[in-house]
Amino acid sequence: MSTPLTCSTGRRPDGAVVLTATGEIDMSNAAAFATALTSADGESDGAPFVVDLTRVEYIDSAGLAVLFPHVDRLRLRSNRLLAPVLTIAGLDDITTVSEES
């Protein structure tokens, strides 16, 4: 059984592609997450897109590793739980930490 993760892609009102992940990301489902990212990247067609991790409870270096190829066009939304990891990974400059969760 894989680690639970659901990814859905949508667009914000301003048209930015938003990939919303729910669940946990580790080495067991990092590949699925990567696929979702690539698809979202392609969908945004060269424009920056948003990955919303506010409903992700866990991400480790396997999950971070699939974020890095898209880092130039990527904006992250995260929760406080994930903030230390994203900060350590050097992604804090593209991350907005949502306070609500």
Binding site: S2, D26, S28, D60
Partner: protein, 1358 residues
């Protein structure tokens, strides 16, 4: 093994006759039962006993059933064999049970061996109560369980030695009379005082003397004066008077000596006198506790012999006294006789010589022997005449009555004529003779008679002292002086003797000459005569080259008294006065007299007499005379020859002249006395020198008698007879001395200051095998151990020799080699003394064979050492590695192998080498050890030099022991016995250790079962310290019970007391409590139920118990305490709680109401401690103080892991002298640690996180820290999955997480190999590692061959 042997026979195999007789014993009737059912220890003991050649007996079992071996049977048991076998020891030795019973009791109660030396025991083994002495040791025997069940006695019977020494002491004391001269009464008193000191062998003695008036009681010992035993008519005097000994039975009142019961018999022995009826007899009361055997009889006879010798000596001293007075009288008469010597001799001499010459010229004298006798008479008549004439000349000279008549003489012619008389004698001596007498121009005035004496004396002198070369006489005239020189190439005169050369009666001592005959007046007379002529005589001599005498005579007559000058006479040039000189000279020459034939002796008890005289006639004469008296005679021409002859065959008497060439009589005596072989040979000196001084000189030199020439044949024979008899009497003493020394039980030797052994006795020969025929034995003595094969023993003996020659007294014990090669140990004692004859320092020593004692001591100490090793050992291999070096040291072995053959596979090898493996041994060695295995058990094998081995039983199978000896020294019988004994002991010891081992294992398992759960739930730590060693349990306990609802019952209890008894109570209480808790799941109810149980269980009253039920999920604790000290809780922030609610009375104390119960919630990361009062209770200290201390200890250790904390608490609370009560403690920290194990698969990560998250929440950790921990653990696990197990799918990963007050400890263990992170090559993984570092306060990675361990720590914010 043969099948048809009776059951149990193998126990007695090797026991010979005794073994067979043991087999016949009806063992069913003894407490030991049939041999096949005997325990191994008994079988071992019996086989050691039977295989030993040392006398041994043993007792085994409740009745101390008796066993013995062949040596014991032979030496000690006597008629009690075989009756004694299998009987109770107190029946066998009923008569001495009072003596030995307590000793055996001691051995059996204490386990310590006894040692008794020469203990007097009265045995009933020979049909009478016998005085015996034994040196023995009782050693304990243990059964298979190590219990004392019997004893082994190694015994040496010492009866012969003790009694022999006692008797010898008496004989030695008898011979120790310090005074030389005693009267008969003094002698008897002295003997009496000595005999009275040995009332064991001589309970009483009575000494009677035969006297002209009848039989007189002269001395008594052990009997009061006037006792009826002293009446002589009690004794068969006529039998002892004949010289026979007789045994007489005794009755009536009689003294007992040193014994409880008086003698039943007395031995009458004669006091023997040489060649006569006995002096008397001695009655010796006989020790009833010893048989009158040869040795006892010999002792009494030697005693009597000594008394007789003392009487003989006293009486002979009186006789000698009388004879000395007679001799002095004789001497005075002789002196008077010789002082009256005068020319009156000449008349009888002339009357002898005249008819004699007449007879010799008669043609009808056909009998050659008669002629020979007559010639002897003639020659000696001439000589006597000559001596008388010389003496007369002197007396005339002295008196001034010498009337010289000087007439003109042709000196050359007259001298040549005189010289020619000597020519034949000189030439027969093989010398050249030159007469150089050219005619002188004028005659010289001489007294012809006197000149003749001058020339003949000088020539005779020259011949006497010249052995090679020649003699020359020459006449010259120069400056009015006629010169006559007599020159020889003889021995010469030492320079210091020259001034006294012409002194009257002076003779040069020790000059080598053809004869020592001579009066010492020849040259003095010559000088006097020359001076009468108005001339001078001088001598020049070079010692060793020759002498020249020069006579100077003035020519003319002016120097002569006027009335003495006459006209020439017609007297012949050579007178008859020349003949004695020539005859005498001829007698000096070899071959002059025929060899004296040995005539057969004519008496029945002939004496051998050696005659030494340089005068052949005297030799012949003495020879004939002594032979005619029946003696066996040997004649020799001088002292040297006599000495050599005496050394070859010691005669009964030596008759010697004083003056002899080569070696004189006095020197001969000195030489004889200096040689121990001839020191006692009597010497009778003959001398022409009369007078008191001469005889004293002779006697001082050590001569036994002195006879002055001339002597009568009767006088000579009387003296010879007296001296021979005296010598025999005296030799009786020396024979007695020899007999005494030979009868010593101890070996005796005399050696000189260089250690050369010069005298020994028969015991010496018995002990060492080297007899007197080999004397003298210079060091290195042949009994020394071989230097090459046994250098240590050799060195010991060399040191002893140094002691012997260096110290004035001392003793030593050394190993020696018997002539047949076997090894002995002897204990020697020695003393330096001065030889009374020579004054030289000699060493007198005795020694005895202490081989048995030596080996007994060695055996005892070896056994003791072995026992110590065995008792120290806790395991079989430990026992062997302790024992092998001990054996190695005992035998000076290079190495010792022990191989245990335990069925299949290679044997287990233990050696004294540091490391050894069976397969590292040479094939030969392996084979040798394997061969040894198949030999009979406990039978030493020493087939090849330098090796010895033995097989014995090991609990795992047959074990062989093999010794590799350092030197290729022989492995003796004693070595074998010792090896068998030690191997037997070792086998038993190993067996015992094995049993103890098993018992301990069992005990430990049982104790562990009593104590507590084998498996604690996670999150607990326990400690237990029993107060009583070596027990592992006591009266305290702890317990955890997992209840069905997931809660955990925790119990700590304490029964009254400690030790085994408390432990058994504890075990039951613990089990009961556990069962009740499982049923009730309620602490108060459980304790109440336990009260009822405790009431039924003796010893359970007043036990205290803390019983709680803990919900590990929430930390909720319900508890009740039955009089138990409160539990302690230390919160993470350092606050502490005492769980002192829910208290009531200890167990079994009647309860008025229900036991109360209390509730408590253990905060997260708080530490809970349950304990027993042993941890905190101290004498003279309030319990509160102890509790405060333990609270502080827990509080301080709240940051440590539980195990560390448990150890710290035990250590910090322990008193300096250790805990004196049982201690149990139980620690719990909320929550318990998390332990998860999962396959190394990525899909397992999410559930793991879920579990970990829950646990972290229970730990009260904030969400950030939780997330940090989750990511760090996730990275570590991902690494393990990706890297550690990439090549090994399906491996397991283990996570352990535990909390302390402020820290989380996490450990992730995998079984794979991690690579050191290399971010450049693998940026992704490097990131994972960086994450861990960043998120955790401490990260450790330990990679080993077995896998990788990642340790993570995270601080918990307060």
């Amino acid at each position: 093994m043969t099948q048809d042997r009776p059951a149990g026979a193998e126990v007695f195999a090797g026991g010979g006759d005794v073994g067979r007789d043991l087999l016949r014993v009806d063992w069913e009737q003894t407490p030991l039962g049939p041999p096949q059912q005997w325990p191994q220890s008994l079988r071992t003991a019996v086989s050691i006993l039977l295989s030993s050649r040392f006398p041994m007996w043993m007792a085994w079992g409740p009745q101390l059933t008796f066993f013995c071996n062949a040596a014991y049977r032979r030496d000690t048991l006597g008629r009690k064999y075989p009756w004694a076998l299998g009987r109770p020891a107190n029946e066998v030795w009923a008569e001495i049970w009072d003596d030995i019973g307590p000793r055996i009791e001691t051995v059996l109660s204490t386990g310590h061996a006894t040692w008794d030396e020469a203990l007097l025991l009265f045995l009933e083994r020979s049909g009478y109560t016998e005085e015996t002495y034994h040196t023995f040791s009782y050693s304990p025997l243990r059964d298979d369980d190590g219990a004392l069940v019997g004893m082994l006695c190694v015994v040496s019977e010492e009866t012969d030695r003790v009694i022999g020494e006692r008797r010898m002491a008496t004989l030695r004391d008898l011979g120790s009379d310090p005074s030389v001269v005693r009267t008969e009464a003094q002698t008897l008193d002295f003997a009496g005082s000595q005999l009275g000191r040995n009332l064991r062998d001589l309970p009483f003695t009575l000494t009677y003397l035969f006297e002209p008036g009848g039989v007189r009681l002269a001395q008594a010992t052990g009997v009061p004066v006037g006792h009826p035993l002293g009446h002589v008519d009690k004794w068969p005097t006529e039998v002892v008077a004949r010289g026979d000994a007789v045994v007489v039975p005794l009755d009536g009142d009689r003294p007992a000596g040193d014994w409880p019961e008086p003698p039943d018999e007395a031995l009458l022995v004669p006091l023997l006198q040489q060649g006569d009826i006995p002096y008397g007899f001695m009655v010796a009361g006989l020790n009833r506790y010893r048989a009158l055997d040869e040795s006892y009889r010999g002792f009494v006879e030697l005693t009597a012999g000594h008394v007789a010798a003392g009487i003989a000596s006293a009486r002979s001293y009186q006789a000698q006294q009388r004879r000395a007075e007679e001799l002095a009288e004789l001497d005075r008469a002789k002196t008077a006789f010789f002082s009256n010597i005068s020319h009156e001799f000449r008349t009888p001499l002339t009357l002898i010589m005249g008819p004699l010459e007449e007879l010799l010229t008669r043609a009808d004298l056909a009998d050659d022997s008669v002629r020979a006798e007559l010639e002897v008479i003639h020659r000696n008549g001439l000589r006597l005449g000559k001596l008388v004439n010389v003496l007369l000349d002197f007396s005339r000279l002295e008196a001034g009555r010498m009337q010289a008549r000087f007439e003109p003489v042709d000196l050359a012619n007259a001298t040549a004529e005189l010289a020619s008389v000597f020519r034949s004698a000189v030439e027969r001596a093989g010398l050249t003779f030159e007469v150089d007498t050219p005619p002188l121009r004028e005659p010289v005035h001489l007294d012809r008679g006197m000149w003749e004496k001058i020339v003949l004396n000088l020539l005779s002198n020259a011949l006497k002292f010249t052995f090679t070369g020649g003699v020359r006489i020459a006449v010259r005239e120069e400056a009015g002086v006629a010169t006559v020189t007599v020159t020889d190439t003889g021995v010469g005169v030492p320079t210091d003797e020259m001034p006294r050369l012409f002194e009257r009666f002076h003779r040069i001592e020790n000059a080598r000459s053809r004869s020592n005959e001579g009066s010492g007046i020849g040259l003095a007379l010559v000088k006097e005569l020359v001076e009468l002529h108005g001339g001078t005589i001088t001598a020049e001599s070079t010692f060793g080259e020759g002498t020249t005498f020069t006579i100077r005579l003035p020519l003319g007559i002016d120097h002569l008294p006027a009335g003495a000058v006459t006209s020439p006479s017609s007297t012949a040039a050579v007178t008859s006065g020349a003949e004695p000189y020539v005859q005498e000279a001829l007698r000096w020459l070899p071959g002059a007299a025929p060899a004296t034939p040995d005539l057969p002796p004519t008496t029945k008890a002939p004496a051998t007499v050696l005659v030494a005289d340089d005068n052949a006639d005297m030799r012949d004469y003495l020879g004939r005379l002594l032979r005619s008296a029946g003696h066996i005679v040997q004649t020799v021409p001088d002292g040297q020859a006599a000495l050599e002859a005496a050394r070859v065959r010691n005669p009964d008497l030596i008759v010697s002249d004083v003056m002899m060439p080569r070696l004189g009589g006095l020197e001969l005596v000195a030489a004889l006395r200096a040689d121990s072989r001839t020191a006692g040979t009597p010497v009778l000196l003959l001398s022409a020198r009369a007078g008191q001084e001469a005889s004293i000189e002779g006697l001082e030199a050590g001569a036994d008698d002195y006879l002055v020439k001339p002597f009568s044949s009767a006088e000579l024979l009387a003296r010879v007879r007296a001296n021979v008899e005296l010598a025999r009497l005296r030799n009786h003493h020396s024979r007695w001395r020899t007999a005494l020394i030979d009868s010593l039980q101890e070996a005796f030797f005399v050696c000189d200051e260089d250690g050369v052994v010069i005298e020994t006795n028969s015991t010496f020969t018995d002990v060492l095998g080297f007899g007197p025929e080999g004397l003298p034995y210079p060091p290195v003595h042949p009994w020394w151990p071989d230097h090459d094969t046994d250098p240590a023993a050799y060195e010991q003996v060399a040191e002893a020799l140094e002691l012997l020659v260096g110290q004035t007294r001392g003793n030593y014990t050394i190993p020696v080699q018997h002539r047949d090669g076997h090894r002995l140990w002897v204990a020697a004692a020695f003393n330096q003394v001065a030889d009374p004859d020579t004054g030289r320092r000699v060493i007198v020593g005795t020694f005895r064979d202490v081989t048995d004692e030596h080996y007994a001591v060695q055996r005892e100490s070896a056994l003791a050492a072995l026992s110590v090793r065995l008792s120290q050992a806790e395991s079989l291999p430990g026992a062997l590695s302790g024992v092998l070096p001990e054996l190695g040291e005992l035998w000076q072995a290079k190495r010792v192998h022990a191989a245990v053959f335990n069925g299949s596979g290679p044997p287990t090898l233990v050696t004294t080498d540091e490391y050894a493996r069976w397969d590292a041994l040479t094939p030969e060695r392996r084979q040798a050890l394997t061969d040894l295995r198949d030999k009979p058990l406990l039978t030493p094998v020493a087939d090849e030099p330098g090796r010895a081995g033995i097989a014995l039983e090991h609990p795992d199978g047959t074990m062989v022991l093999s010794l590799e000896l350092r030197e290729k020294r022989p492995f003796t019988e004693q070595d074998r016995t010792l090896l068998a004994l030690l191997a037997g002991h070792l086998g038993q010891g190993l067996h015992r250790i094995h049993q103890i081992d098993e018992q301990r294992e069992t005990a430990l398992a049982l104790q562990r079962a009593i104590l507590g759960p084998a498996q604690l739930p996670v999150g607990f730590a326990v400690r237990y310290a029993p107060a009583t060693r070596p027990l592992k349990v006591g009266g305290d306990w702890y317990d955890t019970v997992t209840l069905t609802d997931g809660r955990i019952g925790i119990v700590v209890g304490d029964c009254v007391g400690h030790g085994l008894e408390a432990a058994t109570v504890m075990g039951q209480l613990r089990s009961a409590c556990r069962a009740l808790l499982l049923q009730n799941t309620d602490p108060a109810q459980t304790l109440t139920a336990l009260d009822r149980f405790a009431a039924q269980l003796p010893g359970a009253m007043c036990a205290t118990v803390f019983c709680g039920v803990l919900d590990p999920a929430t930390g909720d604790l319900t508890y009740a305490s039955a009089g138990h000290p409160p539990a302690v809780v230390a919160r993470p922030d350092g606050a502490t709680d005492l769980l002192d609610q829910g208290r009531s009375r200890p167990l079994g104390v009647r309860a008025a109401a229900d036991r109360p119960e209390a509730h408590y919630t253990v905060p997260v990361r708080a530490t809970l401690l349950l304990y027993t009062d042993g941890l905190v209770e101290r004498r003279r200290q309030s319990l509160t103080v102890g509790i405060d201390r333990v609270v502080a200890a827990v509080q301080q250790g709240r940051g440590a892991s539980l195990e560390e904390l448990a150890t710290d608490v035990m250590d910090s609370m322990e008193p300096a002298t250790g805990y004196d009560d049982d201690v149990a403690l139980l620690l719990y920290r909320q929550p318990g640690p998390l332990e998860v194990e999962f396959p190394a698969e990525a899909t397992r990560l999410a559930p793991l996180r879920s579990t970990l998250r829950t646990w972290l929440a229970r730990c009260g950790v904030d969400s950030t820290t939780q997330q940090n921990v989750l990511v760090a653990v996730g990275e570590a696990c991902a690494n393990a999955i990706e890297h550690g197990h990439r090549q090994l799918p399906g491996g397991l990963i283990r996570l352990r997480a535990a909390a302390t007050a402020h820290t989380l400890h996490l450990t992730i263990t995998d079984t794979g190999l991690w690579k050191t992170p290399q971010p450049a090559a693998n940026p992704h993984r490097g990131r994972g590692f960086a994450l861990m570092r960043a998120l955790m306060s401490e990260v450790t990675v330990t990679t080993g061959t077995a896998g990788t361990i990642v340790g993570l720590q995270a601080r918990i914010s307060r």
